[in-house]
Amino acid sequence: MANIVCTMAVAHAPGLTGWLEVATPQQQSNLKAGYAELGRLLRESRPDVILGFSNDHLLNLPLDNTPDFCIGTAPEWYGPAPWFLDWLNIRPYRVGGNPQVARTLVRELDRRGVSFAFRDDLLFDDNFSVPLATLTPDYDLPLVPVHMNCIVPPVPSAARCFEVGAKVGEVVRDVLPEHLRVAILATGGMSHDPGGLRYFEIDEAFDRWFLALLENGESERALAECSFERFLAAGDGGTAELLSWFIPWGAAKGRKARVVCYEPTVAMRCGMGGVVWEHGG
């Protein structure tokens, strides 16, 4: 059986790499320290592969046939997609993939009632580029990306994402090769409303409420109360990206997470932060 050695979730807003300098000095300092700590924890867990779960920003999942989940099966990935280069202020990078792990997940999740679409031509914008640039700046940890539909309704529920996360954890533990070290990393959220009427607002109260649920390990309450409507109210266009965080939470069997950092960064038009589940197991 393989081992889950790190379970983590982070926000990925483009301002973190693109225009962090306009945040307050305290916010800059706290986010730099927080993401450095998250990166240290991820790298020191020595994963052989990162299973990354992030919302798709209408860049890959076709509008005419939108799957809930799509896994990347390529042996290597290149990012950011060209149009996003100057926006993100991230240099072009290459990161390895792992087709065998990706295909195993597709096959085994099919057998557990979860259908992942799959393809080898996924493009990365801020969703994976910002986490990779900040957490693994050497791009030396292979990534199996999963793009999720969180912002083109209907989207999967928090309960469905938690269930999928549990089954991903099961496949990792029971089917992937023995001794393989696996990190599960979700990226997305926190409260924000890209393009919407609350574009220049952060719902700090919602963010702190959500983080408290994680810190207290209140997964059942989160599943009951994190309705799609609740996400919309906290930032119509983007807060539902937090559905991705239910994947590692499900894989971690609903355990408590530790909040490493959080900042309600209005200048970045997104609540920013990250959590880690203390025991990957």
């Binding site: 483009p14 301002g15 693109g18 225009w19 306009v22 920003h57 209408l58 860049l59 076709p62 509008l63 005419d64 939108t66 997609a81 060209p82 149009w83 996003f84 100057d86 926006w87 202020n89 493009l123 912002i151 083109v152 309704p153 409303d193 890209p194 393009g195 919407g196 009427l197 574009y199 220049f200 919309l232 119509d236 266009g237 983007g238 200048a267």
Partner: protein, 100 residues
């Protein structure tokens, strides 16, 4: 304006989806928007909203809100996308008719 009001079949959504994936289409957006809109089958009210950068109207027609800011970046550039950037100011103007 909400993501629940998106019209997935709207030609404008198809066009913006594809443009951001392909730098050749980004270039065409800049130099031949009329031809690009015609090739994607945009209706006249969609075309008029793009010409006027009328984001409020685009949202009413069913363009995904996430695309609205990306449309302003296609028109005005993406670099240093702070509140004071041309793209963000165009977003504010396109929704309210007045810059911040």
């Amino acid at each position: 304006m909400s993501i629940v009001d998106v019209v997935r079949t709207l030609p404008s959504n198809q066009m913006v989806f594809h443009v951001r994936r392909d730098m050749a289409l980004v270039q065409r957006f800049r130099v031949d928007l009329e031809g690009l809109m015609t090739s994607y089958g945009l209706a006249e009210d969609e075309k008029a909203a793009f010409r006027a950068q009328d984001l409020k109207r685009l949202a009413e027609l069913g363009v995904h809100p996430y695309f609205l800011t990306q449309i302003t970046r296609l028109f005005h550039g993406s670099s240093r996308n702070t509140q004071g950037s041309a793209a963000i100011q165009a977003y504010v103007k396109g929704l309210t008719g007045a810059a911040e």
